[in-house]
Structures are given as C-alpha cells and as structure tokens.
C-alpha cells in the first residue's frame, strides 16, 4: 500500500479517482432516476466531435470537448421539448453525428495526435495537477447545483408534470442537470475515455437502485459503489496488466452483477 502511495502519479491518480468517483456517483443517481442512461452514452460519444475540433485547431481538446458535450446535452433537452421528438431519437441522431464529425476531422487533417488515444480510452495515471484542479472545480460546481436544488430535482425526476403544475422552473433546472451531466462526462473522459465513461454514469446508480428502498440510501450506495470501483480499478491496474479505465468499469460491472444475482435469489426465496 505504502509502495503505491510513494509515487506522485499514483497519488494524483488516487485523488482523481476520489473526485471522479464522487462526481459520477452523484450524477448517476439522477441519470437513473430520470432514466437518462442513453443520454450518458450519447453525450460521451458525441464529445468525440468536440475533441477532434480541438485537436485539429490546436485548441485544448478537453475545453472544446466540454463545450461540445454540454452543448449537446442542453440541445438534446431543448430539441426534444420543442419539436415533439423523443429524447432517445434526438440522442441517437446527435450521437452518430458527433462521432461522424470526429472521425471525419481526424481523418481529413493528417497529423499525429498523441492525446487522442488517451481521450478515447482514458489514462488516469497521466492525470496532471491542472487536470485535478479542473476536476475539483467541476465537482464543486455540480455539488453546489445539486445541494441548492436537490428537492426540486428529485421532484422533477419523480413527476415532471406535477413539478410544472406547481410552478417550479422545470426547464432551467432540467437544462442545469443536463449541463452537469455534460461537464461530468467531459472531465471523466480524461480518466476512463470516451468509450467507457457512460458506464460510470449508469452502473453506480443502477446498482444502488437495486439495493435501496429510499433515495437517501440510494445516494449513499451509489457513492460507495462509485468510489469502490474507482479505487479498486486503480489498485487492480497497478498489480495486473489491465488499463485502469477498463479495470474501474469492470469492477463496477462485477458489483452490479453480484447485487442483481443476490437480489434475484433473495426474492425467489421469499
């Protein structure tokens, strides 16, 4: 244990795991309750378009990807509300278009993009002090938003029609939630990559939902599962030749499978 902590890159990686685990668990809670799982997968893949814009223009790909991810998340909500098109359909269109834009840009502009591989598959071990600062700021912003509007967000997740009728600012709050999802995805992509980030937004909440009878315990379980997966994955990747992003997601997937099997067997006996 002390051997792991002796390395500066591992200290930074553990801190990143703590921040991302906390951030994704909180967002995962709302993703599951509002049934936005497909949105997470869609935005993460759409972000590839923004990352590609950054790479070919020489801008910071994390910044352009973040703008793209948040923009896509909010546009999804806006278009689906305006145009009577279901969220799933809008996400499906944005998802494919963003990926296509990314592939088209990267293929058209010849060059060597060393960051591309780590953004596609993540590299938590290469996290810098600046990355940690960005992560801490995003976590702070998301936490403030969630703490200030928790009861309203919960009411919107439960019954949006009633929230509208009660006069709550449902539109702005929903857009805020989508923006928080977009930001979370973008900062998490650096650690687990475009391909795997959706799992961080779904598995902690989905597992916690199976274990809980009320939202308070669901939030707590989601945090425990998110942090266990993040730290566990990091330790596994230190001792075994498995990329940390994949290890984090696989540990969460194992926890989910165990919980579902346990609950199924328990319910069968009752």
């Amino acid at each position: 244990m002390s051997e792991i902590l002796a390395y500066g890159f591992m200290q930074r990686a553990l801190l990143a795991a703590l921040l991302v685990g906390t951030l994704c668990s909180i967002i995962s809670f709302f993703v599951i309750l509002k049934r936005l799982s497909f949105l997470g997968a869609g935005i993460s893949h759409t972000a590839l378009g923004g990352i590609a814009i950054g790479l070919v223009t020489g801008l910071d790909p994390v910044l352009t990807g973040s703008i793209f991810a948040v923009g896509t998340a909010m546009s999804t909500g806006h278009v689906s509300r305006l145009g009577k098109i279901s969220e799933d359909t809008v996400i499906g269109i944005f998802y494919a278009s963003g990926m296509a834009l990314g592939i088209a840009l990267i293929s058209s502009f010849k060059g060597y993009y060393p960051e591309l591989f780590s953004l596609l598959f993540g590299n938590i071990l290469a996290v810098s002090i600046r990355d940690l600062q960005v992560l801490a700021v995003v976590l702070g912003v998301v936490m403030v938003f969630v703490i200030l509007f928790f009861k309203e967000l919960l009411a919107i997740c439960f019954d949006e029609e009633m929230a509208v009728a009660g006069g709550l600012p449902v539109g702005p709050l929903y857009m805020g939630l989508l923006a928080a999802i977009g930001l979370t995805i973008m900062v998490s992509i650096q650690l687990v990559g475009v391909v795997l980030v959706a799992a961080l937004l779904v598995i902690p909440g989905a597992t916690a939902y199976r274990l809980s009878t009320n939202y308070r315990s669901m939030l707590l379980y989601a945090l425990i599962i998110g942090l266990t997966g993040s730290f566990g994955g990091l330790f596994v990747s230190y001792y075994f030749p498995v990329p940390p992003g994949a290890a984090i997601v696989l540990i969460m997937a194992v926890i989910f499978t165990l919980v579902v099997s346990f609950k199924y067997n328990l319910e069968k006996r009752l």
């Binding site: 009633m162 006069g167 709550l168 600012p169 009320n214």
Partner: protein, 252 residues
C-alpha cells in the same frame, strides 16, 4: 358558495388543432364537478387550461376571478394521470406528499413546518400511519390516496384530479370517490374530477360536464345521465339499469 372556475366559450388549440371548443361551465366551492367524455375528448387539456399550462385561444377562463392563473397556482391542488410518473420511485409516502409543497417560493429555502403539513395531508386521506412506508410497497388504492394527500398538501381551495380511478378495482374506486365527497364537504373546496368511469363518479358528483372536444351537456348528474347528448358525446347507445338506489345508465 364562491365561484372558483368560470369558463365561457373556452376554446383551446394545440399544435394547430382545436382540442376544446366553446366550453362553458362554472365550478363553485364545496362542489364536485365530474368531467366525463370518451378518450381524446380534451378532458386533460381542460384541466391543463385551468392550471394555466395551455393558453386559451377564444372565450374566457377565470380561476378565483383571475385570468392570470400563474399567480394563483398555489391555491390549486393537482393530481396528474398515473402514467406521468414511476410508481417504483424510491420515495416514502411522506416524501411524495412533500413534493406537493414545492413552489417557486420554496426555491433555495427549507419548507417551514414541512413534517406537520405532510402529516396533516396524510391524515386528511386516512393515511397517517403510512408516513414512513416506501411508496412502491403501497397498493394501487393506497398510492392514489398518497397522491391525493400530495395534491392537498398546500391546503388548496381548488382540487383538479385527472383520472384518479384508473387501475383501481370498483370497490377502491367507490371508496376513493367517497373520500373526495367527505373532503369537499369538510374542507369546502371545489373539486374538478376528470374520469371516464361514469358509473363511479356520477353518484358522487354534484355536477357533470360531458365533453367530446365541444361541450355536449352540463348539469346535475340525473339530468346529464338522461340526456341524449350523452349518447352523442360517446357515440354509443346507453341503456338504463334500474337498481335499488335509483336509475343508473350503462353503455354497451
């Protein structure tokens, strides 16, 4: 008896289509108005218009004497249709009722005396012992009562209920409607109840409003049930069925 909702030649268009046309009715405090009509008749749109969620194209609609409904929304309790939310959501009965206390005024604030208001609302519907019970563990009838408590949490003067009987068996429907009758008498509130379960709401309602895009008939239940306009609205023939308590009508 105060005028609570007054609609005169109310016309509502949605997406370029006329959904309601020339609807005229009056709902007063201490009375239950049952809104009946076939599927797609515009019953839910009528409630949404009273809530100020859809705009009025022609005619007039006043609630508590005001056309600007947004400002008087805290005086209205609303129970939407069942399909708008997840019945397995991880909330306790008390949590569900507490969502009914949220309004623009409670943004960024704690709700004063929340627990007491929630307890009072649950007591009104006879569910005070279910305070901590997970909502998902309750029966359909119990869930409906908790949702009614949510609509009552702010002690509204007007209660709008959209198909509250859907999915309930006949005894549960009767018991729910009976509860509404007691509530309106005790609390002196106006209730507008949308339903296509004619048989369960007709005996409890003080007035019936039968619509199918346009208004077909409005009046006392006995008059409405005998009216040929009822057959017209539902586009089917109603038969009389004589029971011990009087004459009721059924369709076939």
């Amino acid at each position: 008896m105060d005028e609570v909702v007054k609609a005169a030649n109310l016309t509502v268009n949605l997406g370029g289509k006329t959904v309601l046309e020339d609807i005229t009715f009056l709902a007063i405090s201490g009375e239950m108005t049952g809104v009946i009509g076939p599927n797609g008749a515009g019953k839910t749109t009528l409630l949404r218009a009273v809530l100020g969620l859809v705009s009025v194209q022609r005619g007039s609609l006043t609630v508590f004497g005001k056309r600007e409904i947004k400002e008087i929304r805290p005086r209205i309790g609303y129970m939407p249709q069942r399909h708008f939310f997840d019945r397995r959501f991880l909330l306790s009965a008390a949590d569900v009722v507490a969502t009914g206390l949220l309004s623009p005024r409670t943004l960024l604030r704690r709700i004063p005396k929340k627990n007491q208001q929630v307890k009072d609302a649950l007591r009104l519907v006879g569910m005070e012992n279910f305070f901590h019970q997970p909502f998902q563990n309750l029966s359909g009838g119990e869930q409906q009562r908790v949702l009614l408590a949510r609509a009552l949490a702010r002690r509204p003067e007007l209660l709008l209920l959209d198909e509250p009987n859907t999915g309930l068996d006949f005894p549960a429907q009767r018991s729910f409607v009976e509860l509404l009758r007691k509530l309106k008498d005790k609390e002196d509130i106006a209730i507008i109840l949308v339903s296509h379960y004619l048989v369960s709401i007709a005996p409890a309602a003080d007035k019936l409003l039968c619509i199918n895009r346009t208004m077909h008939v409005h009046g006392y239940p006995a008059e409405v049930l005998r009216s040929p306009h009822l057959d017209e609205a539902y586009r089917c023939q109603f038969d009389f069925l004589t029971t011990g308590s009087g004459t009721e009508r059924w369709w076939h």
